[in-house]
Amino acid sequence: METLKSILYFIVFPGFLFTAIAGILVSWIDRKVTALVQWRVGPPFMQPLYDFVKLLGKETIIPRGSSKFTFLLSPVLSLTSITIVSTMLWHTFIMPSKGFVGDLIVIVYLLVMPSIAIILAGFSSANPLSSIGASREMKLLLSYELPFIISVLVAVINSGNEILMGNILMFQNNNGAIAGSLSGILAFVVAILCMQAKLALVPFDAPEAETEITGGPFIEYSGTPLAIFKLSRWMLLFVLPLFLVGVFWGGFRIEGIDLLWSVLKYVALLVVIILIKNTAPRFRIDQVLKLFWGPITFLAILAVILAYLGV
């Protein structure tokens, strides 16, 4: 019975099906708001779903000379890891007391997996443009991962050295959001920038850079694998801001009026992402590296020091 329940959790709610539907909805919001910022009309509500279904029906082409297994594995890897993150995250939101020690660390690690999947995809495609995309993704991963982990560390320190996601939520329930303190807000800003890079959106979209390397790692993908990749990106756009809301901004609560506030917090973060995306050109990959290892890591370390001082 317990196994069946876990499988249901993973497949239906809050796992794959729920996250996928939410991701498709969120990607529509992204496209629509982007269109409005750019004074376009934007796609109809069902467009992302149409895109996805249409891609599923298309022919899957595997390039000659590519590593077939890795090529097909990487989209699945990306999708699975995001589904697990989403399941764990919602599980904690609904039942904060039922976690396991260190689930925060597991989530942070699982959030790296989509990027690893993109790198695998790029290198297995046997295409010079996708290799460049993959190597850029690798540099991007190296650059944002350090400040991201440090910023999450601030939440851990501020909540009394808790590495249990549920306890961080409980702490925020009792003492106010982590982002309420000076160190918390610094860490939150750092985490938002890292999130933008994790999502590979402008200004950190060098790995995909359509006008330079025509989509980079995804250049050889078609049909179902591409659809899975796209879906996993949309799901990441749904899950990652939620993770930030959970760690820094008081968590996502389901009861009564709190649900409205929680949704509003999430939408606010989403709008921030979309606005950053639409008001900046793309950084070159070496500039990204300098930016993240320089000022942003400095900010993150400053936040840790402030957190130790209890500010």
Binding site: W39, R40, I132, P203, T211, I213, N278, P281, Q287
Partner: protein, 406 residues
């Protein structure tokens, strides 16, 4: 081991840009030989879209040719006819009425305005700044509306005619055109702010793809590409045509020669264009008269016509033998001179920068493409008829072999 030897042992990869690439909307093929992300060598191939314009032009009468050369380029669709009529007027020594000169200037400057706006948008797109792209193209729309109001067309205006222009601007319409121009100015201001004040654009374009004044001379670069490197080179000032020697305007020059300077030159030129159009419209109110002179016949001789297109000098050469069609018509589009500068500007930069450097000269490959027939003795050159004959023979052979197999 010296650094150079170490580098030469590294393996070079070829990164293709083209023949079909989202960076540029025309077919072109650049091979970037890279070590890591650094471009070490660039090779290119164009000529995917040869259209035989020059040959076609020699089969048309003098009055038909402007419609043809208008279609060389969709964006600078008035520079080519303007340059062509300049050439024929030079050949036949035709004096153009002043009112026609002003209207020619208005059309040419409106075209520059819309072309530069288009480029600013595309440059934004190439840098991943899609908002600037959409905004610039939205603001380009009023310019096209003015064009439509003045000429009846958004593109391919069909205004140029040997000895004058085809459509007059009604003096009653002038205030409304001026109003549309005034409305455009704040929008250009906004775009200038979005491009020139954005720190990331500075980081991405300053010091990138520098073209030195020596290289401008070596490669013969033209137009905004040359003017961004501190070369004060402008056909409108050096060999004035239309009304450019009557009105008051400045040649915009920047010293740095990088991508940013090229953007600044184009943005500043938009303001110059707006001011020039205003001056011409004011002059039109006073200058009432004919818009064309009657041209009876074109005498034998050679004529040269130039015009400053948004991308640089357009050059047309026309030779007449006294009949009603040119015996030789040579066209040189500005990209012909600007594209080879990639050889110096992209080398040593990263792939990311190469993309924006390629776009920064605002290349127009299809306009540039020409074919040269070299007279080589002993070698048989094939005509269209020969090719058809060969293909028919091949079909015959296939049919025969099929029959034999049966």
């Amino acid at each position: 081991m010296s650094d150079e030897n170490k580098n030469s042992k590294k393996e070079r990869t070829v990164i293709p840009i083209g023949p079909y690439h989202p960076l540029q909307e025309e077919p072109e093929y650049f091979q970037l030989h890279v070590e890591g992300e650094i471009v070490k060598k660039i090779e290119w191939r164009t000529s995917y879209n040869h259209r035989g314009i020059e040959k076609l032009s020699q089969s048309m009468s003098y009055d038909q040719v402007p419609y043809l050369v208008e279609r060389i380029c969709g964006i600078c669709s008035t520079s080519h006819p303007l340059s062509y009529v300049n050439a024929v007027e030079d050949l036949a020594e035709i004096e153009v009425p002043v009112r026609a000169k002003y209207i020619r200037t208005i059309i040419a400057e409106l075209e520059r305005l819309h072309s530069h706006l288009l480029w600013v948008g595309l440059a934004g797109h190439f840098l991943g700044f899609n908002t600037v792209w959409m905004w610039a193209w939205k603001y380009r729309e009023p310019v096209l509306e003015i064009m439509e109001a003045v000429t009846g067309n958004r593109q391919n205006y069909a205004m140029m005619k040997i000895g004058g222009i085809r459509r007059d601007i009604d003096n009653e319409d002038i205030p409304s055109i001026k109003k549309m121009l005034d409305d455009l100015k704040p929008k250009v201001d906004l775009l200038r702010g979005a491009v020139m004040d954005d720190p990331i654009i500075h980081a991405r374009t300053k010091g990138i793809g520098v073209l030195t004044p020596e290289d401008v001379h070596n490669y013969g670069a033209l137009g905004p590409t040359a003017r961004a490197s501190g070369i004060k080179d402008d056909i409108r000032r050096d060999y004035p045509y239309a009304a450019y020697d009557i009105i008051d305007w400045d040649v915009i020059v920047e010293e740095e020669g990088d991508v940013f300077a090229k953007a600044v030159v184009r943005i500043k030129e938009m303001y110059e264009s707006i001011s020039m159009i205003h001056q011409c419209l004011d002059a039109l109110k006073k200058e009432n008269g004919e818009i064309e002179t009657t041209v009876k016949e074109i005498p034998p001789g050679d004529g040269i016509g130039q015009a400053e297109a948004p991308r640089g000098e357009v050059f047309h050469f026309v030779r007449s033998d006294g009949t009603n069609r040119p015996v030789r018509h040579k066209v040189r589009a500005p990209s012909f001179c600007n594209v080879p500068t990639f050889e110096v500007t992209t080398v040593g930069e990263t792939i990311s920068d190469a993309a924006i450097i390629l776009a920064a000269v605002d290349p127009c490959y299809c306009c540039t493409e020409r074919m040269a027939v070299i007279n080589s003795e002993g070698e048989k050159s094939l005509t269209g008829d020969d090719l058809i004959k060969m293909s028919q023979q091949k079909t015959e052979r296939m049919r025969k072999s099929k029959k034999e197999n049966k």
